[in-house]
Subunit: 213 residues, 2 copies
């Protein structure tokens, strides 16, 4: 897959060596992240909303209520938006306070949002979204009714301008500090899924599905 | 502590019952989050940057290089900014696709950023920041030199306008769906710190400190 072009908006200028423009690397970060931040402007005032999302090929999909003020605003006014995700991988504990850091993988992208009016595209987006959050779930659940579809807005954002910033590995201290008697290394951070908790109102006899075990 | 006033910018209008304006609840979310997203506008174009932060009383502190374009821009031009954090607590698996959700705690706040010029305030901010990321670490490490201080920019944001949005608990399905043979419940999500990995260049004989065990 071709890398993303480096633009005025996506060029990583601070610690440029951490900049990543490779499409597969950027998509891997987007596919792992469960939540993104959508930012937009109204009269110079920035707003941001955290929301779930999924990716299909070169498009991100969001969804919400048709009453969602921000989804209506960004699609109807065709506002420039920014979407970002951040995965925290570790605390980087250097010998000096100054060189402390974190290991992370973040993506920031820019574009505009389009309301999805094609039913097949909207259905596919929600199926992919559900699969991302919980593989196997979609086949198991009651599918949306016509009334639920009417209440749901699906929004697509073409991934045109994007870049990632990534730090990995141990701390980097000044040469003279490596002889200090200070422990240095990385404390890993991980987001984990725990054992499923049944709904107190779960119908008796309904077993935990295999995809959640 | 007094709650935050509900303003045009901070009022939770979608699923208003999830809105939280209680100051202690908002501060607890801010204190748990390791990263925030800072959003600002330039000529109607939104930008966002993930960054570490800490809170002291009614102020958030960020820091970065004095060469950081965005920190210079937001402080020198006194731009309106938005800061947000999101903690993901669980996947809410309902009987119907429509009622799937997530348990989360998010905060969005609005303000402007001030460059911290008082050395004591800047020093305290970095000490609090380090303590947040790794309690006990500050006492152990080599402190910043005058040259490192010159290269560091500390920025303060007064927490004036803020609100949180919180979902907890099991799924809420339509009454007629509770009889479906579909498992329902919550899959918890958790961010955990793993066992520290020593720097390959760690000086022999330096033990893992007690605060990391």
């Amino acid at each position: 897959m071709p890398s993303f072009p480096i633009t005025d908006k996506t060029e990583i200028t601070r610690l440029a060596k951490r900049g990543v423009y490779d499409r597969e690397a950027i998509y891997a970060i987007l596919d792992e992240a469960l939540v993104c931040t959508l930012a937009y402007c109204r009269d110079g005032q920035p707003f941001q909303i955290p929301t779930g999302f999924c990716r299909w090929e070169d498009t991100l999909y969001l969804h919400g209520s048709v009453g969602s003020f921000y989804l209506r605003e960004i699609t109807q006014k065709n506002l420039p938006i920014s979407l970002g995700v951040t995965l925290m991988d570790g605390l980087v504990l250097a010998r000096s306070a100054f060189h402390h850091s974190v290991n992370y993988r973040s993506v920031v992208m820019f574009g505009t949002a389009r309301a999805v009016t094609d039913e097949k595209e909207a259905y596919a987006a929600l199926e992919i979204f559900t699969h991302k959050m919980c593989p196997g779930r979609w086949a198991d659940v009651r599918k949306p009714t016509p009334g639920e579809w009417k209440a749901t807005m699906v929004v697509a954002v073409a991934i045109a301008e994007a870049s990632a910033k990534v730090r990995t590995g141990p701390p980097k201290d000044d040469a003279e500090d490596y002889d200090l008697d200070v422990w240095a290394g990385v404390q890993p951070l991980q987001t984990t899924k725990g054992a499923p908790l049944p709904d107190p109102d779960l119908k008796p006899g309904v077993a935990l599905p295999a995809y959640l075990r």
